[in-house]
Amino acid sequence: MIKFLSPALRVTAVTFVLCGLAYPFAITGIGQLLFPAQANGSLVQSPEGQVIGSALIGQQWDAPQWFHGRPSATTDTDPKDPLKTVPSPYNAASSSGSNLGPTSQALSDRLTADRHALEQAQPELAGQPLPADMLTTSASGLDPDISPANATLQASRVAQQRGVALDKVLALVQANTQAPSLGVFGESRANVLALNLALQRDYPVHQ
């Protein structure tokens, strides 16, 4: 038994120090040196120098003068009962998807309610086909992007709220649309935070 145990203990100690400590600490050091912005979360500052979020993490937007991100299924602990959770969209401390399947009544109810709410906020959408990402929740609940189709549909509401011509807002959407990586991988998308920052810069409204 000791014949097996002694090298087993030693190899565990060696690989533990090498792979569990030296490697992650070394990468932290090199990463912080070479790419400090990314290594610390790609934080975004407002023109006033305040940290307003991460370029990679979506935020909750619900006022009508902003572009809105996708619905989010993240939750947080219920303040009244720590064993339960309550909806808390874009909770970046606890990522989560809805995990609802294609035959789920709960999914159907949620989609129906969200569609209704959307049509209330922007009546010209009633009966229109909507882009797939506009009503579905993302995998992480923190999706920073929306599809260009989604952004284009929201532009008229945003333009109206900010008293700007629609084509100006559409031009902003166009300018903030990223093509697929290397032209091939993934999809075209608009980063909602970048879009709203540009919006606030060019056509500010006082909150």
Binding site: P24, I30, A39, G53, G97, L107, S138, L142, G186
Partner: protein, 575 residues
């Protein structure tokens, strides 16, 4: 649509090209030939051998000794992980002051990570300290990957000798060489690439921001990139964050997504190429590679096409599921905009084929056929499969196929000149039967007891699919989940940990016993009576064996789950 196909074709071709290069390098590493890194690594390895014990690292091991050393090492490592997890509250680097993990969950997690499964019944960012993420999660990602790989190497060596297999290599030496010459150099480069793409790597735990609209958001950070690189290269799959590679911090762009897929595919696919170099029979390895690749493409299509088509529910609610330049369309519930359908479907197919288990979309929200594709790949666990073990599983089917074909046509059943006889077939059958047993029995039990059903996240047949997926993932040492299931209950923590262990170790032990038995046999020259195993005809037979055995075993379970759901969905039934 052409955008979708282009991405799929590029990914498949890149996988093939990479595996050819890596396979050649692997063969050089395991047969002790010169490699470019020797000058730096030889002194370093020697230092490690000295620390482990010169004698332990140089002794010849037969199959029993090799297996016992492997098991003892895994046991010690599992214990260390368990202790780190339950005592993380008193260990350093815990700025969020997380409590020690509850013992049952820590047991489940230790078993899960030491076996390369990486099933997670916890949410990473809300449970683990940064020290635990490095010491209890990143650490075994290396060693569990190396363990699976070296077992396969020992097995292949047994096929090549006829001296009784007194020397199938040295477990410690193999483990160290694979870690320092294959895993570490790649993950160092790749983790820096990931940081460049936007993956955080810091010892800070979180940042609180004031959002533009006027609110607060707490961003969880940590040493993510270092873990992410080995998570995929080692086909481990456990994520720093609850939603794994769907989290924008873990997988910020479609480019990082593409690289992660290549990472997880590189070693399992290269192993087949390496096999060809080792046995000096590239016809045989090309045939194996071809059959595996054919299955991968089939399951990939079975996943991507239904996901792009969307679901009747989405269509009924006026959602446009057609792909265009302005949107990906399809079933976007549980998928990220930057990945769309192509990168999500590819990732799902890759993570279950190469049994990695990291996810970039919620498999629980997939269409019935898309979900079926991921489930079946884990049931077969030989569509390339995880590091080492997937290849061995594929050989299991081959040995059964050889034996049956030999009996049918009256040829001598041989594989690479080794006679396949009763002892091997009994051991191989045992190894093969464990897998369905530990999937189907606990799934069935979970559906008839209240503590099993209470954890379901979806109602109706889909809820049953969640349980079937959980045990399949555990048995296949995959670790991905239909995440709606609340698996952090005493029953699921315990049952899944047991299934993971039984799915991993007994089959390895049976296969090492086969290795011992084959190593004792003389290597015969092929003659007129030999059943050739490197012809296209035998490739078809090999595939047929997998399909027939797999279908006979799992079809009833699948009919009750995803297949029933497929018909229900098209009848617009909701649960």
């Amino acid at each position: 649509m052409s955008h979708l196909w282009l991405q799929i074709i590029i990914t498949l071709i890149a996988t093939l090209a990479l595996s050819l290069v890596v396979g050649r390098y692997l063969a050089r590493v395991v047969t002790d030939q010169k490699t470019v890194l020797d000058r730096v690594l030889d002194p370093f390895d020697n230092l490690l051998y000295r620390l482990i014990g010169k004698q332990a690292c140089s002794q010849a091991m037969n199959w029993k000794s090799y297996t016992f050393h492997m098991l003892a090492t895994n046991l010690v490592m599992a214990l260390l992980i368990y202790l780190v997890l339950i005592f993380q509250n008193v260990l350093p680097l815990n700025p969020q002051h997380f409590a020690g993990m509850e013992p049952m969950q820590a047991f489940n997690t230790a078993i899960s990570f030491i076996t390369n499964t990486n099933w997670q019944s916890y949410g990473g960012e809300s449970t683990l300290s940064n020290f635990s993420q490095m010491a209890a999660i990143t650490f075994p990602m290396f060693t569990s990957a190396a363990t699976g790989f070296v077992v396969a190497i020992a097995f292949i060596r047994a096929l090549l000798v006829s001296d009784g297999g007194a020397n199938l290599g040295n477990f410690y030496r193999d483990l160290i060489r694979f870690t320092t010459r294959v895993l570490l150099p790649v993950v160092v480069l790749l983790s820096l690439f990931l940081i460049w793409q936007g993956v955080p790597q810091t010892l800070d735990a979180s940042v609180v921001t004031d959002t533009l609209q006027g609110g607060h958001q707490t961003l969880t950070l940590g040493p993510v990139a270092a873990q992410e690189a080995i998570e995929n290269l080692g086909t481990n799959g456990g994520g720093f964050f609850n939603v794994n590679a769907a989290h924008p911090f873990q997988n910020p762009s479609a480019l990082s997504n593409f690289v992660l897929m290549l990472l997880m595919a590189s070693l399992p696919a290269a192993l087949v190429v390496m096999f060809g170099h080792m046995i000096r029979n590239h016809r045989q390895s090309t045939l194996i590679y071809g059959v595996m690749a054919l299955m991968l493409v089939g399951f990939l299509l079975l996943c991507v096409i239904p996901e792009q088509a969307g679901t009747p529910l989405l269509t009924k609610l006026g959602i446009d599921t057609h792909a265009s330049a302005l949107q990906a369309g399809g079933n976007m519930e549980g998928k990220e905009v930057r990945f769309g359908i192509a990168q999500s479907g590819l990732y799902a197919a890759y993570t279950t084929a190469f049994t990695t288990g990291s996810i970039n979309s919620m498999h629980d929200s997939f269409t019935p056929l898309g979900g079926l594709s991921t489930l079946v790949q884990m049931m077969l666990q030989c569509v390339f499969g995880g590091k080492g073990v997937g290849f061995l599983n594929f050989l299991i089917y081959g040995l059964i196929g050889i034996f049956v074909a030999g009996l049918m046509v009256g040829r001598a059943p041989e594989f690479l000149g080794k006679k396949i006889e009763k002892r091997e077939i009994i051991l191989v059958s045992l190894a093969m039967l464990i897998h369905p047993l530990v999937i189907l029995a606990p799934s069935a039990w979970s559906m008839v007891v209240p503590y099993g059903v209470a954890a379901l996240g979806n109602a109706g047949v889909h809820g049953y699919s969640e349980v079937l997926y959980a045990f399949t993932s555990a048995a296949a040492n995959n670790g991905s989940a239909f995440g709606g299931l609340n698996a952090n209950t005493p029953w699921y923590n315990l049952a899944i940990a047991c299934v993971i262990m039984i799915g991993r170790y007994p089959s390895i032990i049976f296969l090492m016993a086969v290795a011992g038995s084959l190593a004792a046999k003389p290597t015969l020259e092929p003659n007129i009576g030999t059943l050739r195993t490197d012809t296209p005809l035998f490739g078809i037979w090999w595939l047929a064996t997998i399909v027939i055995v797999g279908a006979l075993t799992f079809l009833p379970a699948l009919v009750l789950g995803p297949i029933a759901e497929f018909f229900a969905m098209n009848k617009h039934l909701l649960f």
